[in-house]
């Protein structure tokens, strides 16, 4: 049976035991209880039921104390007793003195007592707390909590709150400059940047960060706009920390909802491994930045993946990927060799989805050679040229080693 009466705000056990300490008979205590109910506008239980609970609580209390029962449950909420003292016009000093004696195991905090005594004295009679809020409201509050540290702190307050937090949709990515960034630097430390909050972690915290990462990623309701992983250098043959991150991704029971995955790595085989953990169709944009030696062979698997085929935008920095792999993209940024520019233009002329691309070269562009090869026509703008027999224009970008091709 639930705590009596089931829909009452009042902690009847604390109230009855306090009255018992004050040597009130069951009848006197009931009158006191009725005054309390009248004051807070709550319907009182009948005198008979109240007497039943008086006997029950007295008996339990007596037996537990006489046997030093380890299952004895101390009273935790004395606010109704404080309100009763206020209604009965007891002074604050006498009130706390009586409460300390009545509930010796509780160690009544004076500051806390004074707060409630004064509050009740000023006519504020209810005390809704966070815990009184229904789970769906708490879940909404958690869903607005876009600060990662707060998110973690809330999880650690209590089991109930943790269960709510873990089943709520996290706020990350909905507001603010939200993304998760995991950076491995040459000292093999992890830096975790989530939301606007940045903290530096040392090697000892690696496991903690991975746990946090797992905690966030394992929430099936997580929806990220950006997931950024930066893997700076390979310091030795072992990719220990990166393998650990990949293990976290592989341990998930679901594919991640990520719109833009940005991955910087010196080790290309990781690219398809991570992309495989992302939901195809949701992934709109992929940014891959190569750090050291390109190993394009390992990307073959990537080009066959649905995630690649369904993405709309790609940025491939310092990677010379064959142009046919970009045919389905709406936009792409890529490095190419100058000799393949004709091939690129022919490909995008026939592409249905193409809107624009930025092509980068490893050296200063020979504009005259480009004009000749593509038979470019000058437009009104000095750096913009049209491509004959197409709806494409080329702009020479200021750095002189990049061009932008746009469909008009």
């Amino acid at each position: 049976m639930t705590r009596p009466p089931p829909d009452s705000q009042i902690d009847l056990r604390a109230f009855i035991l306090y009255d018992d300490y004050q040597r009130k008979t069951a009848g006197e205590s009931y009158e006191n209880y009725k005054k309390l109910c009248d004051t807070i506008g709550e319907k009182a239980i009948s005198c008979d039921v109240y007497r039943y609970w008086c006997k029950q609580y007295h008996k339990e209390d007596y037996l537990a104390r006489s046997k030093s029962d380890s299952r004895y449950i101390p009273v935790t909420d004395i606010r109704w007793c404080i309100l009763s003292d206020v209604i009965n016009e007891k002074c604050a000093e006498k009130s706390i003195d009586d409460l300390c004696k009545a509930f010796q195991e509780l160690k009544v905090d004076k500051e806390n007592h004074d707060y409630w005594f004064k509050r009740f004295g000023n006519g504020h009679l209810s005390f809704v707390t966070f815990s009184n809020l229904p789970n769906e409201i708490i879940a909404e509050i958690v869903g607005k909590c876009d600060n990662f540290e707060s998110y973690l702190a809330l999880r650690n307050v209590s089991r109930r709150l943790r269960a709510i937090v873990d089943s709520s949709k996290p706020a990350f990515s909905k507001v603010g400059d939200d993304y998760i960034e995991v950076t491995l630097n040459n000292e093999e430390t992890l830096r975790s940047e989530i939301g606007l909050h940045v903290e530096e972690f040392n090697q000892e915290d690696t496991i903690m960060i991975l746990n946090h990462l797992e905690l966030i990623l394992s929430n099936p309701k997580l929806q990220l706009d950006i997931l950024r992983i930066s893997h700076w250098y390979l310091t030795n043959e072992e990719n220990g920390p990166m393998e650990m991150i990949l293990d976290v991704f592989n341990s998930l029971n679901h594919q991640l909802h990520v719109k833009h995955f940005s991955f910087q790595t010196p080790y290309m085989p990781y690219v398809p491994d991570f992309v495989e953990c992302l939901k195809p169709g949701v992934l709109e944009k992929l940014t891959v930045t190569e750090q050291e030696q390109p190993d394009l062979f390992s990307l073959v698997k990537l080009f066959e993946m649905e995630q690649w085929k369904q993405a709309k935008h790609v940025i491939a920095d310092y990677l010379f990927i064959s142009v046919e792999h970009f045919a389905h993209f709406t936009s792409f940024d890529a490095f190419i060799e100058l000799f393949s520019i004709e091939e690129v233009v022919e490909m995008i002329k026939t592409s249905i989805n193409f809107k624009s691309c930025i092509l980068k070269f490893m050296e200063i562009l020979d504009v005259e050679a480009l004009k000749r090869v593509l038979n470019l026509r000058q437009t009104d703008s000095p750096d913009v040229f049209s491509i004959p027999n197409s709806n494409l224009v080329i702009e020479i970008l200021p750095s002189d080693d990049m061009i932008e091709i746009t469909k008009i």
């Binding site: 005390f127 707390t129 409201i137 702190a153 209590s158």
Partner: protein
């Protein structure tokens, strides 16, 4: 001691361009006047008005009793709805990431003590006012910034696991009166 909350009767200044007004009576019998545009922000109230068939002609003669919301919360809610009644709908979330900033007027309105805020959120949830719900949730969520779990337990008044267990044991151990 005085146990009656002192809540003034609020007559919300009505804009001239919309003459349709409704009367709402809070649980403690305070009467509020609210404009049609403002009351529409509350799905619960607007459904009630629609179901009761209230019109511009008979609205003021038929006050709507709201038993679950007291005068203090209703005052805040009416102020909020009047303030936001002409707000445009929030644009759908797009690829562009934007930072939410609680408007200063609303921050002032919601600068109340925690318990009042918790009561307000319950009232808002009952009246189904999504925008106020979002704002209240955000203010409560912001309280958690830079706090330890122990500080949060105190701020939010959350029982420890041991206290939760004790309460559960207390509930299950009590046989209850017969009959």
């Amino acid at each position: 001691m005085s146990v009656e909350p002192e809540v003034p009767i609020v007559q919300v200044e009505e804009v001239r361009e919309n003459p349709v007004l409704y009367k709402i009576i809070s649980s403690d019998n305070h009467v509020f006047t609210i404009s049609e545009h403002a009351v529409k922000l509350s799905k619960t109230l607007w459904d009630l008005i629609t179901n009761l068939g209230l019109t511009a002609e008979n609205a003021l003669d038929n006050p709507i009793p709201v038993e679950n919301v007291n005068g203090k919360n209703m005052e805040t809610i009416v102020q909020f709805c009047e303030r936001h009644k002409y707000d445009e709908e929030e644009p759908e979330y797009t690829n562009y990431i934007r930072e939410f900033v609680l408007p200063e007027w609303d921050r002032q309105l919601l600068s109340i003590d925690n318990e009042e805020l918790f009561q307000l959120i319950l009232a808002t949830n009952y009246l189904d006012i999504q925008k106020l719900m979002d704002y209240c949730c955000r203010v409560i969520g912001d309280m958690a910034k830079d706090k330890t779990p122990e500080e949060l337990r105190i701020i939010y008044g959350i029982p420890t696991d041991a206290e939760d267990d004790a309460l559960e044991r207390s509930a299950s151990d009590s046989p209850g009166p017969s009959g």
